[in-house]
Symmetry: C2
Subunit: 458 residues, 2 copies
């Protein structure tokens, strides 16, 4: 081990929660009052370099992820970074294929494993002074292919096909890179949170239009009469050429989804997001078939738990937009696999954003996709959240409706110390004097009534 | 609230692990050295009655489940049992649809929620002095239907269809009950754990035959030459009429699964279990089509994370055996939905067993299925594990290859205090003087090599 070898020495895990539920920002029919949160991992090294990553959550349960990350970090303490950078798949397997832990499945386990892997990728990028996207863009195609766990996905995409995809666009990488440094991936934003009034929505739209946005989303699901009214309201509020998407956050069953979607047909929607359960592959196939002649497509992925689920959604042709999330699956390695599968099946990669600081991560995936995999920026939209940007030292920026390509090393995820102090749970000043019934697991809002009952109203 | 109202006052969660890895019991290609474990929940009440349930795990990670259960229990402390027994779906929704926690998905979250629900069902059964299966058998069909979350499954089974299924067999319930009290659900056992020698396997088979077993399973996956040798060895070791099943524990990708299964065709297998990833629905459909003319069927379910996954496996006709697990999904409520869907599609319910004490739970589901849902015992096999039976005061029993129908109230899951003292992790005497590298998350065995490489050998 040479004297300048970077070694992971310790891990600090921070439970960070912001009481966004006070303003109902981020609200939808299922997630009525989210407190935008992050489980933050700091991997400390002997050199002072710090690997950072987050898992985005919405309040209660962040501690579950933190518990998992702490446990997993035992598997990498004292590991030299070189061991990771030589062949990232080895540490991926050490975590994901752990002979006992793998019993825990996707969800908390895969998210926690993703946090560890993403922090290692961050460390690597910082050690070479590059933003994450640039590290990925500069990697050899074969090296990328070797980062991927092929066991369960090679029936949809073979390693050789992945290599071809990467090699095909490689000659244009420099050109694409300089184009994206002029104006980054195109962004869109949710203006129609469930809990907001028409007036608040309108204010949001105008503010976003001033920043150059021309693609907007709203939450639907509970009540199709109110939803149609609001879709019409937003359609009329935005420019005639602007794009409008709706998001049902998995609120419907299959039959119910059809009843709702049928009423949305007049509004020229770009996509309908998560109409049904995130893993109901056969349901997605059925919906895609039913609406084959319509101009909209189905969008899904922020809750797709693994590359196996993405494989089926993509291979079957049932989704038209692939909404990767940076922290739901097992980190960069899993997302590489998903973006490559999306490229094979010609589905635009439209990453899922959120706060706290999720957008800081997804912009790198969009940059990599648009430089090195799909190799274009013609059809992708990247979600942007217009609040909580002050959490980190390098907030994401948009200009003319596009992300400003990030230049800070790694993910650019350094949290502001005063932000951490304020929002650390449960001891931060935002929380420690609060009624415990309005925070954590005990913070309940009346649970969603059965959708059957709701449907009778509509 | 009447004076004899039962109220949940506190929750104790115990991390119980047995170093079964010392003998490689329970081993398979992915789970090379499991330490059979349980997260044990004790719900204590004002009356001295205790609600008990477990989540079965295989060592490291049990603490993740324990953390989750402790958190969720905050949602039910001070709840009167009546609130649950009046309409179990309400507490189900309080947990599963929690507006922030549901972000955590299946896996750890759903398993922890299932633990809480199962302990409530246990408490209810004990409060009326019935074993769990008998409580379920005596419930009104409409009450059962109202226990189920229909949101994501009614395209496969409607509430009305479920009601019809239950009503159809209800007239025979008394008759079925007395038949099952003579001889309970038929059992099978794994004799061919991956880590055992031929001699050890033979000893296990003879011991099981003495108990009346005539259905056996072995682990396969890693090396098809060795697997075929061992399948032949077991075929020759057991009676000519005995049934033989193999279990690949999701070790293969889709193409690899076909290459392996093709070599197993001469051996008259009853089922091939988990050939591919637990949620690769399209993969299951493809395999089922390919082997449509063969006498074996695919089996799956112990890792199916939710009723949505079961729905697709059943609706598509791709699995021939439905392997429910008592603790992977969200408790009795989810399992009711799955058993009813299996009945509609004519797929035998063959529950997944394991230790510590998982078999104590699954026998109740088998009893309920064979009395009140499928209403027969002609095609089902229930997994049985022939070790760690001494963990509880009422161990499962088999006679003539059948479970002896349980009569203890509730699940019959009271752990022996000396067992808890010995195996509590990490302070029990079985663990506290052990090298920490051989326990918990730091206990690593070389991770599975990529299956691609392994396949080249075969």
């Amino acid at each position: 081990m040479s004297s300048n070898t970077i070694v992971i020495q310790s891990a600090e895990v921070i439970d960070l929660r912001v009481p966004t539920s006070d303003q109902l920002l981020g609200s939808d029919p299922f997630h009525k009052a989210p407190d935008y949160s992050s489980a933050v991992l700091h991997l400390e090294t002997n050199t002072g370099l710090r690997g950072v990553s987050i898992v985005f959550t919405i309040g209660a349960g962040t501690d579950w992820i933190c518990h998992g990350i702490r446990d997993l970090c035992q598997l990498i303490i004292n590991t030299p970074l070189d061991e990771f950078t030589e062949a990232p798949i080895r540490l991926y397997r050490r975590l994901l294929d752990h002979h006992q832990l793998r019993w825990l499945h996707d969800g908390v386990f895969r998210m926690a494993a993703g946090a560890v892997l993403n922090a290692l990728w961050d460390l690597w990028a910082k050690s070479v002074g590059k933003p994450l996207w640039k590290l990925l863009v500069d990697l050899d195609p074969q090296f990328i292919v070797d980062c991927i766990d092929w066991r369960n996905i090679s029936d949809a995409l073979t390693p050789d096909e992945a290599l071809s995809i990467l090699q095909r666009v490689r000659p244009n990488a420099k050109q694409r890179e300089s184009e994206l440094l002029q104006g980054g991936p195109k962004a869109y934003c949710t203006a129609g949170w469930l809990g907001l009034s028409d007036e608040e929505i309108l204010t949001t739209i105008r503010k976003l239009e001033d920043k150059g946005f021309d693609a907007f989303k709203l939450k639907v699901g509970q009540d199709s009469v109110a939803d149609v009214r609001r879709i019409r309201f937003m359609r009329e509020a935005i420019d005639v050429d602007a794009e409008l998407m709706v998001d049902a956050n998995q609120y419907w069953g299959l039959d119910e989804a059809q009843r709702h979607i049928d009423r949305y047909l007049p509004f020229n929607l770009k996509w309908i997001e998560e109409p049904i359960a995130r893993d109901d592959i056969l349901g997605y196939i059925e919906l895609a078939k039913r609406y084959d002649a319509e101009p909209f497509h189905l969008a899904c992925g922020e809750h797709a738990a693994s590359p196996v689920i993405f494989k089926q959604l993509l291979k079957s042709g049932s989704i038209g937009y692939c909404q990767i999330d940076a922290v739901r699956v097992a980190g960069v390695n899993d997302v590489m696999a998903i973006i490559l599968m999306a490229a094979k099946f010609g589905v635009p990669v439209c990453p899922h954003g959120g706060g706290i600081a999720l957008c800081n991560m997804i912009q790198h995936y969009a940059m990599w996709d648009q430089t090195s995999v799909s190799g274009h920026s013609d059809t992708q939209l990247v979600e942007y959240i217009d609040f909580l940007q002050d959490a980190v030292q390098n907030p994401v920026q948009v200009r003319d409706g596009r992300y400003v390509s990030p230049t800070a090393p790694g993910w650019g995820l350094e949290f502001r110390p005063d932000f951490v102090q304020e929002f650390q749970f449960p001891d931060g000043i935002a929380w420690n004097q609060r009624d415990p019934r309005t925070s954590g697991v005990r913070f309940e809002v009346p649970s969603a009534s059965p959708s059957e009952t709701l449907e009778q109203k509509t």
